[in-house]
Amino acid sequence: MKFLLEELNKRILILDGAMGTEIMKKIGSSNLGCPELMNIENKELIINIHKSYIEAGADIIETNTFGGNRLKLEEYGLGNRVRELNIAGVELAKRAIRDTGKNIFIAGSVGPLGKLISPLGELDEQTVFDVYFEQVKVLDEGGVDFILIETQIDILEAKIALRAANKATKKPVAVSISYPLEGGLTLTGSSPSISAATFNATNLDIFGVNCGGHPNEFVNFVKEIRAYWKKPMIIYANAGIPEKIEGKIEFPMTPEEYIEYVDVFYENGANIIGGCCGTTPEHIKKIAKKYKGRAPIKIKEDSKKITIATSRNSIFESGSFLPFKIIGENINPFGKKKLLKELKEEKLDTVRKLARKQEEAGAHALDVNFGRTGEKRPLFYAKAIKQIQSITKIPLFIDNNKKEAIEEALKVYSGKAFINSITGDPESYEKLFPIAKEYGAGVILLALNEKGIPEKAEDRVKIIEKLYKIALDYGLTGEELLVDPIVLTISTSQKNGEETIKAIRMIKEMGLNTVIGLSNFSFGLPARDILNRTFLANAIYNGLDSAILNPLDPEIINIIKASDAITGRDRGLVNYVNTYKKIEIQVEKKEEKKEKTKEERLFEAVLEGEKEETRKLTEEIIKEGRAPLDVLEEILSPALKKVGDYYEQKIYFLPQLILSAEAMESASEIIEKNLKVEGKTNKKAKIVIATVKGDLHDIGKNIVALVLRNYGYEVIDLGKNVPSEKIIETAEKEKADFIGLSALMTTTMEEMGVVVNLKREKKLKAKVFIGGAAVSPSFAREIGADAYCKDAMDTVRKIDKFLEEIK
């Protein structure tokens, strides 16, 4: 059972490649039907695919049971055959292994349910748990070596799947998540870091990523995951982005191309590497040849000691060198009659308002305390947690004393919540540590025990030392812990402030992170805000990392920002400067769009630099019968001219000019394509452009090339650091009308003179224009260039003028 995990310490294991796309290749996608049914009806096909991977060198093959859960099978009317189809799937994997005589692992493939959990979809958490439990239980009985919960699209679903799997089997479990959305997010908006941080707190053995996205995006995913996930990592990408070729879906990436990404996966600490959709035995063979048996890269011990909470869409990180973290305290009926009344009636209007307001005010997390109502009504409390999560992005602290309520809340919580709190009383920790581990939650350790709150800091720290050891025994780490040394009001003893501060310092020395409930400090005194703020500033200076406080007090926020600046938590003073010395960028106010024609919309799309819109509208207008050249001359060119005018009047700054140029380029491609069909060309002249030898700066040159293309020139861009001989050879061969040279540095601009001289020797007629930071009109004259151009627009104007003169 533990065998797999031991192997992973020693060597890289090669996972097989795609099953689905391999099946489709053999029988055609239209004949597919239910893939799991083939475990009964087309056994040889499945066995042969398994064998092809084993022979390619795979150390792990996946059962053909990806969609083998009750809900998915139900779509084919096979919901009652979960057991039969999964067992058959495992049998085929075993047969293939027997036939080849190799000793390798079988992963029980468990895919997503294909529907979302409420309120995003229709499923409830219990159904999700039951469906996963059923499938894993069968795979376990069938004899897989571990469970691979894969291609997951939502972290809550994946977390429930993991819990169900851990209940259904004692074998290792892997979870692999997919990030198909732009910017590398799951379907429900979680990033790889959020996912990895969430699962790092759970009872999970292997975590990773598969499917969705191009392998080059995986490079970032892998790095993000490794920053938060400490145990073995599984990575298997698609063979590129599928393209539709003659009606068939094809994955374009060859094994040679794929292996280059595998190298990066390996270097960043992958332990299991294979392929997902579109990968073939050839891909796996290539990976196996290079990586089979190789020792994995050791991951560096992380010494940063950061405490982490997550929600679906954000990550809360607290620690010594990080900005101070605010946990909003306002969802608490204590002293709030209206809220208390609503809670008793199980209404959540005020709760929702308070949640939103605190998030807007800058809270990084919210404490959710329903007082006794929350303890007595676990299901209502859990429902509230779910609702708050659906309207805010930040993590939640489950502030409740009853085990049942905490457990119900954690069942529906998406991400890694925090339990507030666990005390040194065995009644508390014996019940709550196991729950924290099972649901992957963090906890606040509270410095009191069954005997009460010790007066002295030293005695409070003793309780924490004991609790810390116990927490470690339960499998929690510092990442899951925040310590509350307890704040007592100074109206009872003026020593209280000092003892808390002292305790904070001692706890920081233990390497743990700290939190307090601030408002207690001033209880029973007038002008409480003044005391709270002053104490907070002192506490932060002495190492306090976070506090449960009222974020709606703007002065508190000021004090936190200033304290972060003073203590170096706000690195580079970024937050401080951004808050208090905001240089506002004037944002253009958009007019409401009235009904506009497509032509008007295209004009505006170029002006706004909307690439996709520009491409789409150009295509549509041409399709509707307008001549491509007409579109170019009547709409696109005038739009571009307007952009140029705006730029010269400084209404647009450079990035806007370029964005419009990029949009224009996407339209030009379509115009050109259509012109080619008509056998015409619209090029004004041919230009060879390059950054000269020795110079590696090419942004300016790229921009000039882009803008010139926009204005109807054919541009041959030779790149950067280009030898003078090559520039001249190309100009000669291509019969260029112009040569454009760029150089940023005084040391490299001399090379421009070399190009001009070479041109003269070869007696080329092409005119030379030059540009770049160090270059000047006098330098242009000095070396005999025909023009100095100060920027891209200037280049267009000057070349246009040259052309007119020639005419």
């Binding site: 944002v587 706004e608 450079l654 700066h697």
Partner: protein, 208 residues
């Protein structure tokens, strides 16, 4: 202040002057109207750069041996500065700080990647932000050295970089050797350009 010993400074905090970034990009207050997308993009890039590009620097303080015919020589080092501008800058100085500072490869890689993708508008913003970031980092180090100097009752001259005035860019190579800048993962090209691009070398005079 320690003399004749190379000092390494890592994780230097710095402020990126947003105004200057905007002005590099051609932004004119009161005139330019920026779309919301761009405003957000610039904010995001500023923040990201701060996070991903920590600055690190090497510097060394050398005592001046003599200044003669616009050539400055130093005790315990072969390095020589030949420049009229620097000779006048250092006329009151008894020592010179040689420094090299970089914000590293991240932004170079980012710009290359964007150029590859033909996302020039974004590449341009990264480039401008990077320039201001390393400038900000150099200012930070300068502040730090200023305070240290003041505690010793010294004052510093303004900072001067190769490529300005009559101090030839080739002096970067001398500084590269003097500071062993390869230790900051900096490379020097035959044309005396430094990589990563967002790297600055400079000299500062120390006056009594």
């Amino acid at each position: 202040m320690i003399f004749d010993k190379i000092v390494l400074k890592e994780n230097i905090s710095y402020i990126i002057n947003k105004k200057d970034v905007l002005s590099i990009l051609g932004y004119k207050r009161e005139k330019t109207k920026v779309s919301k997308i761009f405003a957000e993009k610039i904010e995001k890039i500023l923040e990201q750069t701060q996070q991903k590009s920590p600055a690190k620097a090497l510097y060394i303080i050398r005592k001046i041996e003599k200044i003669e015919k616009n050539t400055i020589s130093f005790f315990n080092s072969e390095i020589k500065i030949e420049s009229k501008d620097i000779s006048s800058l250092l006329s009151e100085s008894f020592a010179v700080i040689f420094m090299g500072i970089t914000i590293g490869w991240w932004i170079d890689n980012k710009i290359a990647e964007l150029n590859e993708k033909r996302e020039y508008n974004e590449a341009l913003i990264y480039d401008a932000v990077g320039s201001e970031a390393v400038e900000g980092a150099a200012n930070s180090l300068n502040h730090h050295l200023d305070i240290e100097a003041r505690q010793n009752r010294f004052t510093l001259t303004k900072r001067f970089s190769p490529g300005y005035g009559d101090l030839n860019i080739s002096f970067q190579r001398e500084l590269y050797k003097e500071l062993s800048l390869e230790n900051l993962d900096i490379k020097i090209l035959p044309t005396n350009l430094l990589l990563p691009q967002k790297t600055i070398t400079a000299i500062i005079g120390v006056e009594k």
